[in-house]
Amino acid sequence: MPVRVQTADFDVSHEIAALRAGDARVGAVASFIGTVRDVNDAAAVSTMTLEHYPGMTEKALEAIVSEARARFDVYDALVVHRVGELAPTDQIVLVVVTGAHREAAFDACRFLMDYLKTRAPFWKKERTPDGTRWVEARASDDEAAARWQAAGAGDTAP
């Protein structure tokens, strides 16, 4: 299963070991972990609640993983994204990519995160001293994803 949406935490070592288990072609494993910050947009964050759209979210993540595998010379990829209530320092998202060499693995990992940020249906709500607020989408995330659109298959980082 290349994608999972879950409330439970994940163990990075275990996930990486499972993804590359028995695959002797692998010479590079790139990973990214997103975590909850205690400050966002100049306000203290005490909790963060993540919501998704069951059915569509999994489908969108699978499409992003398929696109990464088609675009980059990598063997496998995994996305685990948590939902529900999280606290500062908690892990939110894990992306792992395996390949023969580091360049494609790094690129695919970054591509996956950039696309996930703008295309996967998740929404964050923060609790701050002023109450709860929905996090607004950032233009910088759209720009990060758009940079890949000009780059064709086999291209390196934008």
Binding site: E51, Y53, M56, R119, A120, F122
Partner: protein, 94 residues
């Protein structure tokens, strides 16, 4: 006399997510479609016509995303009875 079609053939399931669900105070509702089907743009106009929060949140220019049957849609995307249409703000995961 012609039999009326079952509800599933004339009704759309509309799903509201995140900020929109809270603003409207509803997570999902069936919506009667005009005969002959409709489009995303027509459904949005139908919801805006309720006025108040509906008109404000779905006003042209507001960043509202639409998915039909779990695929991102445009204003021209057709909708039919039995479809699931979801309305949500731009995504903020990761």
């Amino acid at each position: 006399m012609r039999d009326a079609p079952p509800d599933s053939l004339t009704r759309l399931n509309v799903v509201y997510l995140a900020r929109l669900r809270e603003a409207f105070g509803v997570a999902a509702e069936p919506l009667q479609l005009p005969e002959g089907g409709s489009t995303v743009a027509q459904v949005l106009a139908q919801l805006r016509a309720r006025g108040g929060t509906w008109a404000a949140e779905l006003a042209p220019g507001r960043a509202v995303r639409v998915a039909v049957n779990h695929a991102m849609a445009t204003p021209a995307t057709p909708v039919r009875g039995g479809d699931e249409l979801a309305l949500f703000p731009p995504v903020t995961g990761g």
